[in-house]
């Protein structure tokens, strides 16, 4: 695909995404406050405990935690080493490029801050996605799941936009060490987000087939676990790549 033709589409999409996200946030906040007292009520708690007992009737594990949840915890721990190696490589080569463009020649802090914000928002929506399905509210689940999906997609849109912009400025994968380490690190993260986006879309569709139910809320929980992880990793990456370029005190 030709880079120039894509750009307006992606721009339009991203701006639209930001707009939608802001509206959603407002709605989400209202919802969250409404739902607090409900979770706390004693009756609800008992109901939840009863269901827990039911769900555990089937799988009995030593720790009481479902296998799949442990799986994702350990996988994400392993994934930390994956990102850790990439971040280390980035830091080792920071400032070692022999030719430009250098980071500050291409970075657009405002833009990336917005996309970071959107990714953070999506984590918030993910919380609501999970709590809706735990309460068995399929309609709300679909709504929040799709919102999270949309945020993820918007983030990816921003990233594609950013990459195209950088390429325009002359920063390619093989231009210099900054290019290589930057694209590799953010690209790997982007792939993680893309997998998450596919996952969310999958759950959304699956919910119409009757595959997502209150009893299977664990499926949503692990998707959430993954999604939050990807978010947290982005915060680290954002700090290491972008914020560290800011002149201190200036």
């Amino acid at each position: 695909m030709e880079a120039l033709k894509l750009q307006p589409v992606i721009t339009a999409f991203s701006v639209f995404g930001v707009f939608v996200c802001i509206v959603l946030t407002y709605y989400a906040l209202v919802n969250l406050f409404k739902s607090f007292p409900r979770i706390r009520s004693k009756k609800d708690k008992e109901a939840i405990m009863d269901e827990d007992a039911d769900a555990h009737h089937h799988v009995e594990t030593y720790t009481g935690e479902p296998n799949i949840k442990l799986f994702w915890w350990v996988f994400l721990a392993s994934d930390c080493m994956f990102f850790g190696s990439l971040i280390t490589a980035y830091l080792i080569y920071k400032g070692q490029s022999l030719v430009g463009p250098y980071p500050l020649d291409v970075f657009d802090m405002e833009l990336t801050t917005i996309s970071t914000f959107i990714l953070l928002l999506s984590s918030f929506f993910m919380v609501l996605t999970l709590s809706s399905i735990q309460k068995g509210d399929l309609g709300k689940f679909r709504f929040w799941c799709f919102s999270t999906f949309l945020c993820g997609l918007t983030f990816l849109g921003f990233q594609v936009y950013e990459f195209e912009h950088f390429i325009h400025e002359g920063l390619r994968l093989k231009t210099n060490l900054f290019g290589s380490t930057f694209y590799l690190l953010t690209g790997t993260h982007g792939v993680h987000v893309a997998i998450g986006v596919l996952w969310l879309l999958g759950m959304f569709i699956y919910s119409f087939w009757g595959g997502i139910t209150k009893e299977r809320a664990i499926e949503v929980e692990i998707a959430g676990l993954y999604w939050h992880f990807v978010d947290v990793v982005w915060i680290v990456i954002f700090s290491v790549i972008y914020l560290m370029e800011l002149p201190i005190g200036g």
Binding site: L98, G211, I218
Partner: protein, 623 residues
């Protein structure tokens, strides 16, 4: 995947996913199996096969070195043989051999019916096979990698290694890496979550414990090498300059990444073997393991400390005296928990009623041989002394004493010890003993003289030398001994197969052993434990034998014995990734086809679910 409700919501056009394979015999049953015991057997046979391949490569290398100025395998051919020998042995023979025992034994030792994720377990095996195929396909597709198993930059760059050999090597290792990572996570979850009630971590058999530590090492060390391999692949194929000095890159980064993985890797190899020895020595000494807790904790300590010593492989790179001293100290420190284990084994033997059956012979030989390797390790762990020894045959002697004398001897011990569980057959004691002595003697005759060659200045990885170096006699001797070792190892494996085919039926507990796997028939039924055990002590089975009380069990499930459904998906996903790897090497469209197959099968996997079914219980009393 979570094991919740068996009813799966599927739209009509996908309902074919409900038809799960059910064949119990024949090829299809092996390709679709999710039974950890069958997967263990697949691992065992496949790693025997690769051990054979790697062994042939080693003998070719030794043939070339048997006298001065020979010209049988020279230049790149020789380098390919050396590289593929090491790669095959480490990644395709020894590590999977450990995986074979993990697979077969962990669920039995912890009183479980299977691993936590049976289909994922099958996937691990097929990915390992796929990695083995990709790595070895290079022989027939333009030559294998010839840059050494540690593949130092910049020799690996497309300038110096223009053929596809290194690309095959990279993708083969990435595939086996995925296999091991997934398997490791699977075992971690299995051990945390599937233990019999009452079996706290500190009541778990030592072998399972060492498997647990090893799995963590794998989960944390493999991502590092995976990143290194990806970076290298990009340097070679997409024009990045991570390891290119001319563009500001740093080839030493590769060395760091490689050894951050590489040193934990050596413990990945040896800890499972330590675990096996810690099972065998108490059984054949008729005593509990001396200092069980200390053995476990020192194993965990080795695991942690294994991540702090990697730069001892790089003393001569020029990191400076401070870094070198620091890593000398950490290297010396890691010998402490290793020594603790050795003393524990010796004290277990002390005053025991020792019976030198074949497994015990290998196990005690390991204690001795690993000490030889450990001491030479300590010698080059001191940076100053390593300047003399680095890249000489002394190091070759060191790591063969640790990897063969430590790793392989443990796995041979395990093979003989657990053969009754694997196949319900027992190895002939008399012949087993003879073979042991041949292996032990030829092993030492092959590798001990390498210490002398090394201190005499012979470098590693040279394909010939001139007569006036005076290395000819020793080299000739070593080559002779290595052929004897190769042949006796082959005889060992033939003996294993003969035992499997023989009528020497083994009883459930032929060694009068201590752990739960011996409380069920040999070989175990598909569901392992008809009645799931409850555990109160370390060595529960032994306690139940001496107190004459049967092991307590859990009440039976009214539905029957819960079993996971077989599946094609692990095989198809692996084939997809293998095709994608070949595609990536040649930058052809095959990679998209491969990824497509992978994705489709992946969704199939998710949607088909566990498909549990139930088997009827056997009659009580009759196990």
């Amino acid at each position: 995947m979570s094991g919740h409700g068996p009813k799966l919501a599927l739209p009509k056009f996908l309902s074919f996913l409900r038809n799960r394979p059910t064949k119990e015999n024949g090829l299809v049953s092996w390709l679709t199996t999710v039974d950890h015991k069958r997967i263990g057997i697949l691992y065992l046979y496949t790693s025997f096969f690769f051990l054979f391949v790697g062994g042939i490569e080693a003998l070719f290398v030794r043939t070339q070195l048997s006298a001065n100025d020979l010209e049988i395998f020279v230049g790149s051919t020789y380098n390919q043989l050396v590289t593929m020998h090491a790669t095959t042995m480490i990644f395709l023979a020894i590590m999977p051999l450990a995986a074979a025992f993990f697979n077969f034994m962990i669920p039995l030792q912890i009183g479980a019916r299977d691993v936590a994720f049976p289909r994922l377990n099958a996937f691990s095996y097929f990915m390992y096979l796929a990695g083995g195929i990709v790595l070895n396909a290079s022989w027939f597709m333009g030559g294998a990698s010839d840059v050494g198993w540690f593949a130092y930059a910049p020799l690996t760059s497309s300038t110096y290694s223009p053929t596809h050999g290194v690309d095959f090597w990279i993708l083969g290792l990435i595939l086996t890496g995925i296999s091991s990572t997934v398997a490791a996570i699977n075992f971690i979850v299995t051990i945390i979550n599937m233990r019999a009630p009452g079996m706290t971590l500190m009541k778990m058999p030592v072998f399972s414990w060492m498997a647990f530590v090893t799995a963590f090492l794998l989960a944390f060390a493999l991502p590092v090498i995976t990143i290194a391999l990806i970076i290298l692949f990009m340097d070679r194929n997409y024009g990045t300059t991570f390891f290119q000095t001319a563009a500001g890159g740093d080839p030493i980064l590769w060395q760091h990444l490689f050894w951050v993985f590489g040193h934990p890797e050596v413990y990945i190899i040896v800890l499972p073997a330590f675990g096996i020895v810690s099972e065998i020595i108490p059984v054949f000494s008729k005593k509990p393991l001396f200092g069980y807790k200390l053995v476990v904790l020192s194993g965990a300590a080795i695991g942690f400390m294994g991540f702090t010593v990697w730069s001892h492989h790089m003393f001569t790179v020029g990191m400076g005296p401070i870094v070198n001293s620091a890593f000398s100290i950490t290297t010396a420190a890691i010998a402490i928990p290793t020594g603790v284990k050795i003393f524990n084994w010796i004290l277990t033997l002390w005053n025991g009623k020792i019976k030198f059956s074949v497994p015990m012979m290998y196990a005690t030989a390991l204690v001795f041989l690993f000490m030889v390797g450990g001491f030479s390790g300590l010698m080059h762990g001191a940076a100053a002394s390593d300047f003399q020894q680095h890249d000489t045959y002394f190091v070759v002697a060191h790591f063969h004493y640790t990897i063969l004398g430590g790793g392989l001897f443990g796995f041979l011990a395990g093979t003989v010890y657990w053969l009754p569980k694997f196949f319900g057959k027992i190895m002939d004691e008399e012949r087993g003993r003879k073979i042991f002595w041949w292996i032990f003697a030829s092993f030492n005759l092959t590798f001990f003289p390498m210490h002398f060659l090394g201190t005499g200045g012979m470098p590693r990885r040279i394909y010939t030398y001139s007569a006036d170096m005076e290395w000819t006699a020793l080299n000739g001797f070593i080559t002779l001994a290595s052929f004897v070792l190769g042949i006796t190892l082959l005889v060992f494996f033939i003996e294993v197969i003969k035992a499997v085919k023989s009528k020497n039926k083994a009883s459930a507990d032929p060694w009068d052993a201590r752990t739960l796997e011996w409380s069920i028939p040999s070989p175990p039924p598909v569901y392992n434990f008809a009645d799931l055990p409850k555990v109160e002590k370390v060595d529960e089975f032994w306690e139940s034998k001496i107190s004459n009380k049967p092991i307590k069990t859990l009440p039976r499930d009214p539905h029957g014995i819960h079993m996971p459904g077989k599946s094609w998906m692990p095989l198809i996903t692996s084939v997809g990734l293998m095709l994608a790897s070949f595609g990536a090497i040649y930058q052809s469209d095959l990679r998209y086809i491969g990824l497509g197959i992978f994705l489709l099968a992946y969704y199939g996997w998710a949607l088909e679910g566990d498909a549990e079914y139930y088997l009827p219980y056997p009659k009580k009393g009759k196990k």
